[in-house]
Subunit: 351 residues, 2 copies
């Protein structure tokens, strides 16, 4: 098994089923049967073929199999940012379920950019992936519905069906926003900032809506109780940190802030510390997601927990079910829950 000399940078063509057949002195279809219908081949022949495979270093050619009609072993997944701990957990859930089914996972971050999202979708469709799990960055689902209609199953992740004929896994964001607001209102806060992204992401709009409903339900005037502050993309710790100035500049100053996720809350805490504002003494902070580190922040973060890993697993499950005979599209809905820790307290008197 010496290396080919000649210094050619081109990859050597891999051994095909034919080389194997030649080496084992059988026909190609026998080799194919050894691979796909082992029971149909005589044991001695099979042995010979298997030895030949090892000898020539045979590796199945996935492209040829797929071309011939085999189902793809790849699923795609498009999230806003795979490095964000929330999505990283979701993605891991997807990966684990797919692995159990013998599938691989392509991941992509859209960074809430439609062009990027479309690009990924196109490439994945061309590859003929088994399906695509997507957390849509915009509110238009028609492109995804068309994609699905063309034969590539689509499952919405962390997004409701919204009437579209697709499978979906969602978390009740209106409820989640309400939980955060109820908690702060119960503590006595009457001036609350909501750090939402400016990109108009559906989940954030819903949380905002939940917050407003909660305020109305408490008989408060939303316009004077709630201050919405957009967080520019990308939503990193540094960006969130820099938004603190804006929050503090609002007059009258809010006594509490609801962040749209725990990473933003992390930046918020850092910025507040920089400004010497004690949390929760002078400012209560609520996060969203309950990622791993939330419990151990300084102070421990009050936040709204979402099922992350389970969200991913459930989405993958729906995708795998797509090609089962009488499949019906369905939505799975999770409910978030409030986790109260140390970053929230009643507002300072006279605050």
């Amino acid at each position: 098994m010496g290396q080919d000399e000649g210094g050619s940078p081109q990859r050597a063509r891999r051994a095909s089923i034919r080389q194997v057949a030649a080496a084992a002195r059988v026909s190609t279809s026998t080799v194919s049967n050894v691979l796909n219908n082992p029971d149909v081949v005589a044991t001695s022949t099979r042995r010979r073929v298997e030895d030949a495979m090892a000898e020539v270093g045979y590796v199945r050619n996935g492209a040829a199999r797929q071309l011939r009609g085999a189902p793809s072993t790849i699923a795609g997944c498009l999230l806003l940012d795979t490095a964000n701990p929330f999505f990283a957990e979701v993605s891991r859930g997807i990966e684990d379920r797919l692995t159990e089914a013998g599938c691989l996972l392509i991941v992509g971050s859209t960074d809430v950019r439609a062009a990027q999202e479309n690009n990924y979708l196109r490439m994945m469709e061309e590859l003929g992936v088994r399906g695509i799990l997507v957390n849509p960055s915009g509110s238009r689902l028609d492109r995804l519905v068309r994609l699905s209609g063309r034969g590539t199953p689509v499952v919405l992740v962390d997004h409701p069906r919204a009437g579209a004929d697709l499978c979906a896994v969602a978390v009740d964001d209106v409820h989640g926003g309400g939980l955060a607001a109820d908690h702060l209102l119960a503590l006595g806060h009457r001036r609350i900032a909501f750090l939402g992204s400016q990109a108009g992401i559906r989940s954030l709009r819903d949380r905002g809506e939940g917050i407003r409903r909660s305020m109305r339900k408490a008989g408060l005037d939303v316009s004077s109780t709630l201050v919405e502050i957009p967080v520019p993309e990308p939503c990193t710790v540094d960006v969130a940190d820099s938004v603190v100035d804006q929050v503090l500049a609002v007059s009258p100053r809010p006594t509490a802030v609801i962040c749209f996720n725990d990473v933003v809350a992390l930046g918020m805490l850092r910025g507040l510390r920089r400004h010497g504002i004690p949390v929760p003494g002078q400012m209560s902070v609520v996060g969203y997601d309950d990622v791993q580190f939330a419990e151990q922040l300084s102070p421990a973060l009050t936040t709204v927990r979402q099922p992350k890993y389970q969200l991913g697993r459930a989405a993958a499950e729906l995708l795998l079910a797509e090609d089962r005979p009488g499949h019906q599209h369905q939505e799975i809905r999770f409910t978030p829950e409030l986790v109260v820790r140390a970053s929230t307290a009643p507002p300072a008197i006279g605050g």
Copy 2:
């Protein structure tokens, strides 16, 4: 890994280049030229073909192209755990560089299990991916070298070349371990625990080695200064939390602990808090990686920073360079740096 589930190919067959040709009343090769050599086709014909594509909903068939010899647009990436924030950042760096080159990324978590790793490698090879970026879970590189020899480029991620004929991107872990130990020794600690994983991961062995060298350099007896405590897989916050008991049971009790990553440090902090042990008053804690949340923990974590995103980008860069003519395998080496924060202090007197 489980069996393929379901898989009845009920999907409608996609429109092929032939339908397009028919609809545009040209030959298939003209359609192909519109796709791949647009300049060679008359504008009016091209228009006609493009309209026909839209009409029949044409989507390129990646499998057929690949079979015909087109380079794959997919790269693979195998990390220990994609949900771990360190690897999530690395992976994002890889993804971004690949996207610039028009490539997609398959990710997989090995969870330090050889069988899982081999399974992924085989599947990726069968797919004919453009190359595989891998953070090897074991110390045996021969399988990877063979894989590379068969035509699938392999780049080691966060791992030195170790003499193998592969590209690699590494961080100097011996140095990193030394940084952590030097810092603690300078503070006066003489009884230090190292929480290494029991799986014998190369990077952790190296860090342990760096720690020992640092102690020897300081003229200390390693066996009485260092206590190595294995952390069982999986290395989650909860597991690390549960190891705290072991650390505290060591006699004489260590006054400082070096954790093999920040997630473990997170669990350590939680466990120590549970036991009512003040950090750094009764126990100093050093992490590794400097992930996003390290700065904001309670107390802010002293840790050894690794370039994460850049590590990923560099690895992807090497992979993309693999098929350039005259390519030589090379190693890129980064240097970690110590970030001192609030979780370390001199040992308590009489500690």
